[in-house]
Symmetry: C2
Subunit: 147 residues, 2 copies
């Protein structure tokens, strides 16, 4: 039902993305660092700055399931990378803020993760090509993004 071109693009996307994730994950593990998922979350929380983020905002920004975020945050907290603060005007919620140790871990992860990105992607395509890939993939997003 899909065109041969669509099937090929899909297959490439599946294979390449799995391969890249695996490589990056492997590099992190080899450096004795936590998995990619931790970076994603630490990144979002760090971006949020002093104000921190609510878990449900994290769910919107990343693509993790609710229970996944809940437990991931528990692990991050147990490791002292983030702290959970009660929210003044909502007794159910909490605000997650990154700690100094969390920032440090994120920094060390980026040293490895960033290098992986540079090697696996940055070194393989020109700036123009990278921009083109981004634009095309942006149209596959939901919702689509042009930029």
């Amino acid at each position: 039902m899909p065109s041969p071109e669509a099937i090929k693009a899909w297959a490439r996307l599946m294979r390449v993305s799995r391969q890249l994730v695996e490589s990056a994950e492997e590099a992190l593990k080899a450096a004795g660092l936590p998995p990619l998922a931790w970076y994603d979350v630490l990144h979002e929380i760090a971006e949020a700055g002093e104000g921190g983020l609510r878990p449900f905002q994290l769910i919107e920004r990343t693509l993790f399931a609710q229970y996944n975020i809940s437990r991931l945050l528990a692990r991050l907290e147990a490791d002292g990378l983030v702290e959970k603060l009660p929210v003044a005007d909502d007794g159910r919620g909490q605000t997650i803020r990154i700690t100094t140790k969390g920032r440090e871990t994120r920094r060390r992860m980026w040293a490895v993760y960033g290098r992986s990105i540079a090697e696996l992607v940055g070194a393989k395509l020109s700036g123009n090509e990278l921009t083109m890939v981004s634009a095309l993939l942006g149209r596959l997003r939901h919702p689509p993004i042009a930029d």
Copy 2:
């Protein structure tokens, strides 16, 4: 360390691929069908035809870990979708062959999976654009593929 273009392309790739997998997986589940991984394996085994495939060949073709293939095959066999045959000249190995029921399941999965591909990818980009995506992603593969 990576250029902003590389980071953006990477981020897009990560997000889009996760989103697409999730959508396809959801469609299969909604249709009461097995997960994507089963399709991948059934596909490879079906391609191999009467001769079947050895598990280690499956590992080369897909990106699954050895233990993953081992258990996935056990589940497929338990469901009667594949059969394991002893190999004449290698007492350790086995040959995996798809059964009629397996072919039927693969067919029903493709009806749903193929539609997902058509909707999620085929409908979003032109044939030219799809070919371009494939070519660019092909260069990110390991080993890189031009075609």
